[in-house]
């Protein structure tokens, strides 16, 4: 076990980033033209990094597995993006955003990184507005804000329930501009299959052209992985069907340490499962908790009546409802952080209060907000003595203006009208705080290999606050990586083009080829999905919202078994050299089957509860998560040694110099 050097700059926290920028190596503009950078992934981090690097003068090659870079899963982010602008004059500041994020992450993130994130957050909003991102505005023409979980100020900028879409399209258009200029070469429908190291440095990738099946060698002076999270290891998650860990995992197998794999965010407000055929879960934005109240019935008899359809939730009296978040956390109420809200829902459902057939659903109720907005609206429209129906109608209009697309989405999926009856929601896997370990420059333990956005581990600790993922993706891509990468590339100005004819490229390609062929030639009897679903079930049951030693040990053994069976019995139709979606899935699931085991191992090793990681063995008397700062105030970074169960742990100690370590309380 070694200690990792995170290269945090010296000096007071507020000056670290500026000092660092002033002192790192910079590549002069003429030399940038001689340097190639590969960016894998075209989401917020990837697209913004590609655009910024190209603007600076580097030659960028960007890869995405989708048919267009605009389809990256950042597009599905709904609620908003945080920034310490203090436009609402509610006392927000860089420090407050920094503090909220560190606390929200349950004190498991790196102070310096989080401070930098908070510092550049305001620039993101400026940049996006300059690009023409249509954020929501007030009648005065200025930007509007709303609140998100875990904070006491209003700092979230939004574009209805489609903020991720708007921000991604902003980054996509900035990148499109560079494609037009020939500074970015875009490779759609290409998937990275391996990272190529030459003399210990990341110098290229092997990518598969998904249309023709051809393997291609691409070289560069540095490789940026912006490939998102690995929530799909659970099979069912809010991630897109194609979201995968392959790029990160391949880098891990080549020497990049994987940090905190067990930190997974289970989002409290998702549409519950409806059957075994379910392929994915749909998120209902956290912003809904601004106006929605979460409850279950107080009494089991009402639960029974509701489940059997004899009682409608709207008919249940106020006194018979348990608004359990408001009851348990009076200060933050329905806006507690995601991990807390998810566990509270699970607690109620485990106690038998779940309100749908599967017993895994709670209500998210807008009737109070509808009536409140309705009376306000009636008042401002000078309607004298409005009737209840009038108020309700006016209120529904206001709610529609705020969350219309989410309500429509809900109705399309469930066939229920959420204006008239409360939504049913349940937690689901949403985001992974863990990822490739990176230093302050966002470089992994492989020189020249960078990780940005959700693919790295750096900023959210053990739990991410709402509206912070978009902030981090864009901060990394627009404002951090383009500067810090110069520190590494400065030594490469005389290197010249990297040849793809070297033995390293040849071997890596051969490796990939044999891996793909063995999957195709396996001719087993079960589909890829069969194994993926089994993996997902083990992950959810034993490494999901609550984890214990026994379950995690079982999970490790079971995942290993599933993996062995996968290689014996998987059936992948078609051939290697054609458009073959089943083969794509197979390569991704193969990597999930290794990651899953490391995930469980990490969860087992971390015998404390923190953020999204809840160990049954470590809780307070009231059932709240209990951290162990004496033994676990570190980042776990795992080194690949050939087998997930034998990965070697390296620690990065977390030092808190600006924020006092405290047990989180949202009461």
């Amino acid at each position: 076990m070694s200690t990792l050097d995170s290269k945090i700059p010296e000096g007071p926290i507020a000056d670290k980033w500026t000092n660092h920028k002033n002192h790192i190596d910079v590549v002069n503009p003429a030399n940038k033209r001689l340097i190639d950078v590969i960016v894998v992934g075209s989401g917020l981090a990837g697209a913004s990094a590609s655009a910024s690097l190209a603007e600076m003068g580097y030659n960028v090659k960007t890869f995405c597995f989708q048919d267009s870079p605009r389809r990256a899963h950042s597009i599905a982010a709904q609620g908003g993006i945080n920034a310490a602008k203090n436009y609402q004059n509610d006392g927000d500041s860089t420090f407050r955003l920094f503090y909220d994020t560190v606390k929200g992450g349950d004190y498991r993130s790196r102070e310096a990184n989080v401070y930098r994130l908070a510092e550049v957050s305001a620039s993101i909003i400026d940049q996006c507005v300059a690009q023409g991102v249509p954020f929501a505005r007030e009648y005065g023409g200025l930007l509007d804000n709303r609140s998100f979980g875990g904070v006491l100020v209003s700092r979230t900028f939004y574009a209805k329930g489609q903020t991720g879409q708007q921000l991604l399209l902003g980054a996509y258009s900035a990148m499109s501009r560079q494609i037009n200029k020939g500074k970015v070469t875009m490779y759609n429908r290409h998937e990275m299959q391996d990272l190529v190291l030459v003399d210990g440095k990341a110098r290229g990738i092997i990518a598969r052209n998904l249309v023709t099946g051809e393997l291609e060698r691409h070289s560069a002076h540095a490789v940026v992985l912006a490939t998102g999270g690995y929530g799909n290891v659970f099979y069912l998650s809010t991630n897109a069907m194609g979201s995968n860990v392959t790029a990160a995992w391949r880098a891990h197998r080549r020497g990049a340490y994987f940090a905190n794999p067990c930190y997974t965010q289970i989002h409290p407000t998702c549409i519950p499962r409806s059957g075994d055929y379910q392929s994915k879960l749909t998120l209902m934005s956290e912003s809904l908790r601004n106006d929605g109240r979460i409850w279950v019935p107080k009494h089991h008899k009402d639960v029974e009546a509701i489940r059997s359809g004899k009682l409608k939730p709207t008919d249940l009296k106020e006194d018979d409802r348990d608004y359990y978040l408001e009851r348990r956390y009076p200060a933050f109420g329905n806006l507690v952080p995601r991990d807390v809200a998810s566990r509270a829902a699970k607690e109620r459902c485990d106690a038998g209060f779940g309100v749908n057939k599967t017993g895994e659903a709670v209500y998210l109720d807008f009737s109070a907000a509808i009536m409140r907005y309705g009376s306000e609206k009636a008042h401002t429209s000078h309607i004298q003595n409005p009737s209840n129906d009038q108020i309700r109608e006016l209120g529904e209009k206001v709610i529609e203006g705020k969350y219309g697309n989410l309500f429509q989405m809900y109705e399309k999926i469930t066939d229920d009208n959420p204006y008239k009856t409360p939504m049913m929601i349940y937690p689901a896997v949403h985001y992974t705080m863990g990822g490739l370990w990176v230093d302050y420059n966002l470089m992994t333990t492989i020189p020249g290999c960078y990780a940005a956005g959700e693919a790295n581990f750096s900023d959210h600790g053990a739990n991410r606050l709402g509206a912070s993922a978009l902030m981090q993706g864009l901060a990394d891509g627009y404002f951090v990586l383009p500067y810090t990468i110069g520190d590494f590339l400065a030594s490469d100005i005389r290197t010249g083009k990297i040849s793809t004819d070297s033995k390293e490229f040849e071997e890596a390609e051969k490796d990939v080829k044999s891996r793909l062929e063995s999957l195709i030639n396996n001719k087993g009897s079960k589909s890829v999905d069969h194994f993926h679903k089994r993996l997902g079930k083990v992950m959810w049951d034993k490494a999901g919202m609550a984890r214990d030693t026994k379950g995690l040990q079982e999970a490790m053994a079971e995942i290993k078994e599933i993996r062995e069976e996968f290689y014996k019995d998987v059936f992948v139709p078609g051939s290697v050299d054609e458009f073959n979606p089943e083969l794509e899935k197979a390569t991704r699931v193969a990597d999930f089957l290794e990651l899953g085991e490391l995930f469980a191992k990490d969860a087992l090793d971390r015998n404390e509860s923190c953020g999204g990681h809840f160990r049954e063995e470590s809780q307070t008397e009231e059932g709240e998560a209990k951290r162990d700062d004496v033994n676990f105030a570190f980042v776990s970074a795992w080194e690949w040694t050939g087998n997930p169960s034998e990965s070697v742990l390296h620690k990065e100690d977390l030092k808190f110099e600006n924020i006092e370590l405290k047990q989180r309380s949202y009461k």
Binding site: R71, S123, G132, A240
Partner: protein, 248 residues
């Protein structure tokens, strides 16, 4: 419920395809259309046959990947949804469902139901952006107030997911709704006005080069659009085009 599916199968861009018939059974009405397709594919794989290839990713109607022409309409009979949000409760037991890829020369078929929509990317590359660099110290976001009405209209146009249903629905395979949505978004905002003239001309130029047809104002695009992008945008682009052509 039990259904008969008639699906376009085509091995690759250079081979000829054909409609093939597949029965599926025990479909729940709570399934999404793509989950029904998963069931079919799982069956095909178990039988050792090639599953049907189709584009899909987020499965919540926002990424714009899914693109099936179902029973004669892009994204099927429901309104305001992408294929992934279409649910089987819109069909009846015993129905026959025709499933085809988008048809347009500018969207060549790659395999089965998968088409190549990179022509859309190239249209955006021709000018669908505001030419500002990422500097980190551009002017403060609140320094240019924008009337809420314009901000909202720009947002409505910007919700386009680039799925191509407008092209698929149009009898002329015209991409006017897609192009006009981007032109509108940026022309409604002061940031985008600066290069509005060049933008509209170059984007239309690229649209023509890609081989899309002309708009004949049938309105089918807006009705079939999963994001219900309005025809107002096409009218706005026509205006922008006229004023740009006259003054350039």
């Amino acid at each position: 419920m039990n259904l008969t599916l008639k699906i376009w199968r085509q091995k690759n861009p250079s081979t000829k395809g054909e409609m093939k018939t597949y029965p599926v059974s025990d479909i729940s009405e709570d399934m999404s259309f793509l989950e029904m397709m998963d069931v079919l594919n799982e069956e095909l794989i178990t039988k050792g046959e090639e599953p049907v290839a189709f584009d899909h990713d987020c499965r919540e109607g926002i990424c714009g990947s899914c693109s099936m022409y179902i029973n004669g309409e892009p994204h099927g009979p429901d309104r305001g949804v992408a294929t992934c949000q279409l649910h089987m409760r819109k069909f009846k037991d015993g129905d026959t469902i025709h499933i085809e890829p988008w048809r347009a020369n500018a969207f060549p078929v790659l395999k089965d139901l998968v088409v190549d929509r990179s022509s859309f990317d190239r249209i955006i590359q021709a000018g669908g952006y505001v030419s500002v660099n990422t500097s980190g110290n551009s002017q403060d976001a609140n320094s240019i107030p924008i009337p809420k009405e314009n901000a909202d209209l720009a947002f409505d146009a910007a919700t386009c997911i680039g799925c191509g249903a407008c092209v698929a629905a149009c009898k002329n395979a015209s991409a006017m709704l897609f192009v006009s949505a981007k032109v509108s978004q940026l022309s409604l905002l002061p940031q985008g006005r600066v290069e509005a003239k060049d933008r509209v001309l170059s984007m239309i130029d690229q649209m023509d080069d890609e081989g899309f047809g002309n708009c004949t104002n049938t309105g089918a695009c807006a009705i079939e659009c999963p994001k219900e992008i309005s025809l107002d945008n096409i009218a706005r682009m026509n205006r922008e085009f006229l004023s740009a052509s006259i003054s350039k």
